[in-house]
C-alpha cells in the first residue's frame, strides 16, 4: 500500500489487503467506502437487503446533536460536525427541515438554559425563538410552549443514503453481496483467514485478511461465530407513523431526553417516537398495544388531539449500544460509537464497530478505517469527508413530490402505479430490468407500499410487472407474504379511517385476489 490511496476508480492493487465488511446498514456501507478510498480490497456482506435493519428503523433524523447537548456534549459536537459533512455529501437524500426544542408547561424550566449553554459548548448553532412565533408557525403544537430553540436538525432518507454509499463503493471496485449470510470464519494461528458465506443457493469461502463486524444489533451474533464476545445492550424503540405532516420542523421536547418526545416530518407523513425497552433478541420488532397507547399519550402532550388523526402504521427498530467494561447497571450508556480491535482478545484482524447513530456513521467508518490501517501498518488518510460520491441514481425516486396527474399527463403510456407516493411504471421498469428485486426491495427503493394505503392498490400492480418480467416469479406467494407483513404494521393503528383502510386492504387481498393471510411470517419480515 502506498502512502496515498489510489485515485478514484483506479484498479485495486492485487497485493492490497482483503477486508470483509459484515453488515449492509449505513455503518457497513460507509466502512466499505472508507476502506476502498484508502486502497483496500473490500467485500460487503449483508444478510438481507441494504439498510433493512436499524439504519431504517429509527426516527429518520440527521441530528444537529441538540438531543444530546446536555447529556453528552462531546457526542453532540460530533453529531453537529457529521451532520454538516453528510448533508454536503448526499444532499439529495437530506431535507434540511431544521429542528425545534420546545419547553412545555410540564417540562423542567431550568433545563432550557442548560440546553442553550450546552448547544453553544458543542458548537451547535442555537437560536431562541419567541413562543408566539412558534405558536404561529407550528399551530399543531401544544399552546403551552414556554420557550423554544431552533437548531439545524434535518431529516434523511436512510435507503437513499445506503444506496448512494453502495453505488459509490461499487464504482470504487468494491463487491456488495446482499442476501448473503455469514455462516462462520476460518481462523489460523489467532488470525482471520477467511469468511464462509451462504447465499444464492450455495455456500462459499471468501479469503480475507481482515473482518469488520458492522452488523449493528446482530454484532454479538457475528462475533460469536468467531468465538469472540461483544457486550451489547439492545433497546427496542417503537414509532407511530401519521398520515399528516403536522409540523414543518423536527420537534423535540426540551427536557432530559427520554422517550415519547420527538415528532419528525418526513415526506408527506410524520413519525412520532419513540418507546425504549431493553430486549434480548435483535429480531424483536413487534410493537405491542401498550406501546401504542403510551406513544399516543406522549404525543397528546406535544400535539393535543393527536389521537383523532390518522396513524397508518407502527414499527420498531433495535438500537445497539456497547456496554463499556467499567459500566454498571443503571448508568446511562455512552451514545458515542466504539471500535473494538479483537487482537488483544485473541483474534487478530477482527474489528467490531458499534454504537453511535446514523448521523455519525461516517465518523464511525473513519475511526474504524484508522485502526485497520494501523493494523496493516499502512498510511492512508481518511478521504470520505472530502471525496464526492459517484454520481448517484435517478434522484427522483427519493422525491415523491411530483403530482400523480403530471406523471399521467406527461406520458400516458407511463401509467402511475402507486398513487400514494407518485411512482410511475417507468420508475419500476428501470429497476425491474436490473433483475433480482422482490416486492420489498422495490418498496424501499421507490416507496411503493409506504403511503397510507400500504400497498393495497399498488402491490398487485407491481407483482404483475414482476411476473411479466420473470415467468418464474412466485406472484401469489410473494403477494401473500407482502400483504401479511404490511398488515402487521397497519393493524397496530386500526382506528378511525385506518380501520376502514385495513378492511379495504383485506377485501382486496383476500376477496379480490383470493390470497390467504400468512400468520407464520417471520419476525424479521416485520419491517418499517
Amino acid at each position: 500500500m502506498s502512502s496515498q490511496g489510489p485515485s478514484k476508480g483506479a484498479p485495486r492493487r492485487v497485493s492490497a489487503p482483503r477486508v470483509a465488511v459484515i453488515g449492509g446498514g449505513a455503518t457497513g456501507c460507509a466502512v466499505a467506502r472508507d476502506l476502498l478510498l484508502r486502497g483496500f480490497r473490500v467485500t460487503l456482506i449483508e444478510f438481507g437487503d441494504l439498510g433493512s435493519g436499524t439504519s431504517s428503523r429509527f426516527h429518520g433524523m440527521l441530528q444537529s446533536g441538540g438531543r444530546y447537548a446536555v447529556s453528552d456534549t462531546d457526542y453532540a459536537a460530533e453529531c453537529m460536525r457529521e451532520r454538516q459533512i453528510v448533508a454536503g455529501l448526499v444532499p439529495h437524500v437530506v431535507e434540511p427541515t431544521g429542528g425545534l426544542f420546545v419547553s412545555l408547561q410540564e417540562d423542567p424550566p431550568a433545563f432550557a438554559d442548560e440546553f442553550r449553554a450546552s448547544c453553544e459548548a458543542a458548537e451547535i448553532p442555537v437560536e431562541e425563538l419567541d413562543p408566539e412565533t412558534v405558536r404561529r408557525d407550528e399551530p399543531h403544537l401544544s399552546p403551552t410552549i414556554r420557550r423554544a430553540f431552533a437548531v439545524p436538525d434535518a431529516t434523511i432518507n436512510p435507503w437513499g443514503l445506503v444506496t448512494a454509499l453502495c453505488d459509490d463503493a461499487r464504482a470504487l471496485g468494491g463487491e456488495i453481496l446482499t442476501r448473503h449470510q455469514v455462516t462462520g470464519f476460518e481462523l489460523a494461528g489467532g488470525r482471520i483467514r477467511a469468511v464462509r458465506v451462504a447465499g444464492g443457493g450455495s455456500e462459499r469461502t471468501l479469503e480475507a485478511d481482515c473482518v469488520v463486524n458492522a452488523a449493528g444489533p446482530w454484532a454479538a451474533r457475528v462475533a460469536f461465530l468467531a468465538d469472540q464476545t461483544v457486550d451489547l445492550e439492545l433497546t427496542k424503540g417503537s414509532i407511530l407513523v401519521f398520515a399528516h405532516r403536522f409540523v414543518s420542523k423536527a420537534i423535540n421536547r426540551c427536557r432530559p431526553s427520554t422517550s415519547h418526545d420527538i415528532m419528525v416530518p418526513t415526506g408527506t407523513v410524520s413519525l412520532f417516537g419513540t418507546t425504549s425497552e431493553v430486549v434480548d433478541d435483535p429480531d424483536t420488532t413487534r410493537v405491542n398495544p401498550e406501546e401504542i397507547q403510551s406513544l399516543l399519550e406522549g404525543g397528546e402532550a406535544m400535539i393535543p388531539g393527536l389521537r383523532s388523526y390518522r396513524a397508518f402504521r407502527a414499527w420498531a427498530g433495535v438500537r445497539p449500544l456497547l456496554k463499556p467494561a467499567d459500566w454498571s447497571q443503571g448508568k446511562p450508556l455512552p451514545r458515542r460509537h466504539k471500535v473494538i480491535n479483537h487482537a488483544p482478545l485473541g483474534l487478530s484482524g477482527f474489528f467490531t464497530v458499534c454504537g453511535g447513530s446514523l448521523t455519525t456513521h461516517r465518523a464511525m467508518a473513519e475511526d474504524l478505517g484508522n485502526q485497520v490501517c494501523h493494523h496493516f501498518r499502512a498510511i492512508a488518510p481518511c478521504r470520505t469527508a472530502t471525496t464526492p460520491l459517484a454520481s448517484h441514481r435517478n434522484t427522483s425516486h427519493w422525491r415523491p413530490a411530483e403530482s400523480f396527474e403530471s406523471i399521467e399527463a406527461e406520458n400516458r403510456r407511463d401509467s402511475g402505479i402507486c398513487e400514494c407516493e407518485s411512482v410511475s411504471q417507468s420508475d419500476l421498469d428501470a429497476l425491474i430490468s436490473e433483475g433480482g428485486y422482490g416486492l420489498h426491495d422495490l418498496r424501499r427503493r421507490l416507496r411503493i407500499g409506504f403511503g397510507p394505503c400500504q400497498g393495497t392498490f399498488c402491490a398487485g400492480r407491481v407483482a404483475g410487472l414482476l411476473a411479466e418480467a420473470d415467468p418464474g416469479f412466485p406472484a401469489e406467494e410473494a403477494l401473500a407474504r407482502f400483504w401479511s407483513e404490511r398488515l402487521k404494521g397497519m393493524t397496530r393503528t386500526a382506528w378511525g379511517d385506518q380501520a376502514r383502510q385495513v378492511l379495504l386492504s383485506d377485501l382486496v387481498f383476500r376477496e379480490v385476489m383470493g390470497l390467504r393471510l400468512r400468520p407464520e411470517i417471520l419476525p424479521s419480515e416485520d419491517r418499517r
Partner: protein
C-alpha cells in the same frame, strides 16, 4: 314528507330492503353518503364459502353448513328457512332486476385476480370459474396500460395450475385505460361485434375459452358478451380487477334503477348524524345540514366499520355514530396478532334479536329499527365468504319485519 321506511346506507342490504318494502307497497326513502362496498367486491353471490372453524375448508352446500356457524351469526338468528327464502326470492327477481346470476345450488370455484380458486354460490353472467378453463388453450386478453388488471399474476398462477394460459395484449382503445373508461368504451361502441372480430386472429390455435378483465360494459354487459362470443366463436368470461369493480357496480346500478322505478326517494351525499330516541321508538333522523327525515321504520344498512357505519377510536372501542346503538365487542379491537385484529374488526357490530332489532343490555332498544349487513355483529365476510348472502338475507328479513311492524 314522512315515509313508511327510511333506509340508511346504500349497501346491498339497504337496496334489497328497499326493494322488498316497495314491493309490499311501502314508501321508501334512502339516504346514504353514496359509497357502496359493492364497488370493491368481485362478481358473484357469495353465500357461505368456507367452513367455520376449520381453517378454511371449502363448503360444498352452503345451507348444510349454516348450523356450524356461531349461534349469534345473522344466518343462525334468521334461521336457514328465512335465509333460503330471501336468496330464492332474490333469484326469482333476476329478470326484473336485469341481473344475470346462475347457480346449481352448490358452490363453484371462481377464478380470483391472483388465479386462486375461491368458492361462489352463484356466478355473475360470464364470471370465470375454473370449470370453464379445462381442456384447451385459454386466451387471456388484457389492455395495454390497464394497471388495475395485473395480468402477469393471473397468467403465472394459472400456468402453475397446469392451465394452458396465453397472454394477449390489446391496444388501449380509450386513452389512459382504467376500468371505468374501458367499460364506457364498450357501452358506447356502435359495433362491438366488429371490434371483437378485429381481435379474433389473435386467438391461439385450439383456444377453448377467452378471458377478459371484468370491464366489458356497465349498462350493456349482456349484449357485449353475446357479441364477443359470437365474433370470437368461443365462450368468453371475465376475471376480477382491482377496485373499482365493474361487476359490483352493475349490480348496484340494476338494484338502484329498480327501486327508483318502484318509487324510492334517493338522497345520496347525505350523512345521517343523529336520531333522538322517543321511548324505544325512533321518529326521525337528521342529516348534517339539520334536515329531518321522518319515517315509521328505519333500516340501518350503513356498512359496518368498512363503510363508516361503525367507528373505532384509538382505544380500540367501536361506536355506532347515528343512533348510539350498543356495539357488541369481546374486547378492545387491538391485539398482537394481525389476524386477530382483522377478525375483531369484522365481527364487531350491533347485537340484535331475531327480528334484527337492536338490543341494549339484552333488552330491546328500538322497536321500529332494523339492522342489516356489515353493521350486524358476529359474522366475518372474508373468512366465511358470505358477504352478498348475509346482505340479501338480512335486507330481505329487515323489510319483512318492518312491514310486519307497520301492519301489526
Amino acid at each position: 314528507m314522512k315515509t313508511d321506511a327510511l333506509i340508511l346506507g346504500s349497501e346491498l342490504d339497504g337496496l334489497v330492503a328497499a326493494l322488498r318494502l316497495l314491493e309490499q307497497g311501502k314508501s321508501v326513502r334512502l339516504i346514504a353518503t353514496g359509497g357502496s362496498s359493492l364497488h370493491y367486491a368481485p362478481d358473484g353471490l357469495h353465500l357461505l364459502g368456507y367452513e367455520p372453524g376449520t381453517g378454511g375448508a371449502v363448503v360444498q352446500n352452503p345451507y348444510e353448513a349454516v348450523d356450524a356457524l356461531p349461534e349469534r351469526h345473522p344466518y343462525r338468528l334468521l334461521g336457514k328457512a328465512r335465509v333460503r327464502a330471501a336468496v330464492d326470492g332474490f333469484f326469482e327477481r333476476r329478470q326484473e332486476l336485469g341481473i344475470e346470476l346462475s347457480s346449481n345450488g352448490r358452490n363453484m370455484l371462481a377464478v380470483s385476480l391472483a388465479g386462486q380458486a375461491v368458492p361462489v354460490f352463484a356466478t355473475g353472467l360470464h364470471q370465470a370459474i375454473f370449470a370453464d378453463l379445462e381442456g384447451g388453450a385459454v386466451a387471456v386478453f388484457c389492455y395495454d396500460g390497464h394497471r388495475d388488471f395485473p395480468s402477469g399474476i393471473t397468467i403465472a398462477e394459472l400456468r402453475r395450475r397446469q392451465i394452458d394460459a396465453h397472454l394477449l395484449r390489446l391496444e388501449d382503445p380509450c386513452g389512459s385505460p382504467d376500468s371505468m373508461r374501458l367499460a364506457r368504451f364498450f357501452d358506447s361502441h356502435d359495433d362491438t361485434t366488429a371490434y371483437f372480430r378485429s381481435i379474433r386472429d389473435r386467438l391461439p390455435e385450439n383456444s377453448t375459452c377467452a378471458l377478459f378483465p371484468a370491464i366489458l360494459g356497465l349498462d350493456r354487459h349482456g349484449e357485449i358478451m353475446a357479441a364477443a362470443e359470437q365474433a370470437l366463436g368461443l365462450p368468453c368470461r371475465e376475471l376480477p380487477t382491482l377496485p373499482p369493480s365493474i361487476p359490483g357496480m352493475r349490480l348496484d346500478r340494476c338494484l338502484t334503477k329498480r327501486i327508483q322505478k318502484l318509487g324510492a326517494l334517493l338522497h345520496l351525499g347525505a350523512q345521517a348524524i343523529g336520531a333522538p330516541a322517543n321511548n324505544g321508538r325512533c321518529d326521525a333522523v337528521s342529516d348534517e345540514t339539520g334536515r329531518r327525515f321522518e319515517a315509521e321504520t328505519f333500516v340501518i344498512a350503513t356498512g359496518g366499520v368498512l363503510m363508516g357505519g361503525l367507528e373505532v377510536d384509538s382505544y380500540g372501542l367501536a361506536r355506532e355514530p347515528v343512533f348510539g346503538l350498543e356495539v357488541s365487542q369481546s374486547g378492545p379491537l387491538e391485539a398482537d396478532n394481525p389476524e386477530e385484529v382483522l377478525d375483531a374488526l369484522h365481527v364487531v357490530g350491533i347485537e340484535t334479536d331475531d327480528r334484527l332489532r337492536p338490543l341494549a343490555g339484552g333488552q330491546l332498544a328500538y322497536e321500529n329499527l332494523f339492522v342489516t349487513g356489515r353493521t350486524l355483529g358476529h359474522w366475518n365476510p372474508p373468512k366465511e365468504s358470505s358477504v352478498e348472502g348475509v346482505a340479501i338475507a338480512t335486507g330481505w328479513a329487515a323489510a319483512d319485519q318492518a312491514c310486519a311492524y307497520m301492519e301489526g
